[in-house]
């Protein structure tokens, strides 16, 4: 059941007064269930610890974000023993995507944001933290056209260019950007699956299906590339723009993820990098 907004706002005001949330900005909170991590590119390797575990150099090229140590032999323990480059520094998770090329020259994204959102399910108050150690792949790396792709390409600062499942031609002075939404319903049991996808699913009509009953935050990956003009010569290491996919290995410290889900997602408030809100 949805909480009446005025009631929630009163509670939040009380909570802010009593708990005196450190670092909270002043002003009315923004009613979007969101927290985020911004993680620039960390390194590039032909490795994939989820799809080709323990097989260094056997993968198509990936750009890695977040945890600095990720390679083919990465495990939960190895990630825990390293640091990341995200803001907030608490997020030492690992994220990776296929490398983008133009005419065989690799192009690194210059803006990389991972949003954790409450949208997509009708009852964000029921959303639970992502399980620690979760591994998941989103997108279809083998897409053969628009029909089997859930990629989305658009232009930053050029909203008139229609989004597409393949690369789009962005006007001069704008940037090519891509969005990828991860599934947000977990089966409550598995940290991985043989296809690295089926332990999670997308919601159906605003709810999680009985096969995947646990709602978790929706991870939305937003990448911005210093690319505009013709799409000629653009390709991903996995093929066309339609094959855009993303991998995520969750090692957010449990308390940090739990606090953000409680303070940002469950109560539908937009939080800053530190998981605080005004």
């Amino acid at each position: 059941m949805r909480k009446p907004l005025f009631h929630l706002a009163t509670i939040l005001a009380l909570a802010a007064g009593v708990l005196s949330v450190p670092g909270a900005a002043q002003g009315a909170p923004v009613r979007v269930a969101e927290f985020l991590a911004e993680c620039p590119i960390s390194h590039r390797l032909p490795d994939d610890p989820i799809v080709l575990p323990n097989l260094p150099g056997a993968s198509h090229s990936h750009d890695f974000f977040g945890n600095r140590s990720t390679n083919a032999r990465t495990t939960q323990q190895s990630l825990e023993g390293s640091t990341g480059n995200c803001n907030p520094a608490a997020d030492i998770s690992s994220y990776w995507v296929p490398t983008l090329y133009r005419d065989n020259t690799a192009i690194a994204p210059t803006g990389v944001t991972f949003y954790y959102l409450g949208e997509g399910v009708n009852n964000p108050a029921a959303i639970q933290p992502m399980p620690y150690g979760l591994k998941v792949v989103a997108g279809n790396a083998k897409a053969t056209g628009d029909g089997d792709s859930n990629a989305r390409w658009s232009c930053l600062h050029a909203g008139h260019v229609n989004p597409s499942k393949n690369f789009v031609e962005c006007p001069s002075g704008t940037m090519l950007e891509t969005y990828l939404d991860f599934p947000q319903c977990w089966n409550g049991r598995d940290l991985d699956s043989s296809d690295h996808k089926s332990h999670l699913s997308y919601p159906v009509a605003g709810g999680c299906p009985s096969s995947h009953p646990v709602p978790v935050p929706k991870l939305r990956m937003v990448l911005r590339y210093p690319v505009n003009g013709t799409t000629s010569g653009l390709r991903l290491a996995s093929g066309t723009g339609q094959t855009m996919h993303g991998d995520f290995f969750n090692v957010w410290p449990r308390a940090e993820m739990e606090r953000r889900v409680r303070n940002c997602i469950n109560v539908v408030i937009k939080c800053d990098h530190n998981g605080n809100h005004g």
């Binding site: 080709l52 993968s59 939960q76 409550g188 940290l191 646990v214």
Partner: protein, 155 residues
């Protein structure tokens, strides 16, 4: 008390406890055909299938025979139905469709792509051997290394 009530109203205390994940991160017995072996075999089947296309119409007969022999052994050791996880990808040692198309009309290009396959594939095999523990799969890796080393030496 007030804090707890507030926290409860904020939904934090109302959540049911999370189920405990019971899937071990890694539980593969030493010497078993595990996740790494499966990934390696599927990758190698995909690579060899692309190489056979590259070698159509005039590729060295011995190399064709080697890839076919390897494919047979790779398929025999795989414990699940084969899925090509890397179709359309730019994988080390695996000729792309564009390269295969170009090679069909340009013998020099084919020669270059065959050499790239051999050198890149050898590197993948050398790395893979460190972590593969399943003896029959290790035997296939050794066979593949012998084949590629000999093929490279003969060029």
């Amino acid at each position: 008390m007030i804090l707890c009530l507030l926290a409860g109203l904020l939904a934090g205390c109302q959540q049911a406890p999370l189920p405990t994940p019971d899937t071990p991160v890694s539980s593969e017995a030493q010497g078993a055909f595990g996740q790494t072996e499966r990934a390696f075999v599927e990758l190698s089947i995909g690579t060899n299938e692309q190489v056979l296309k590259l070698l159509e119409n005039g590729g060295p007969a011995e190399m064709v025979a080697h890839r076919r022999e390897e494919l047979e052994r790779l398929r025999a050791v795989l414990d699940v139905p084969y899925v090509n996880n890397h179709v359309g990808h730019d994988m080390p040692g695996m000729p792309t469709d564009a390269e295969i198309q170009l090679a069909a009309t340009d013998p020099q290009a084919r020669d270059q792509f065959v050499r790239a396959h051999l050198t890149e594939s050898l590197k993948v095999l050398e790395n893979a051997r460190v972590d593969l523990k399943h003896p029959p799969t290790v035997e296939i890796v050794e066979l593949m290394e012998r084949h590629r080393t000999a093929e490279l030496a003969a060029r």
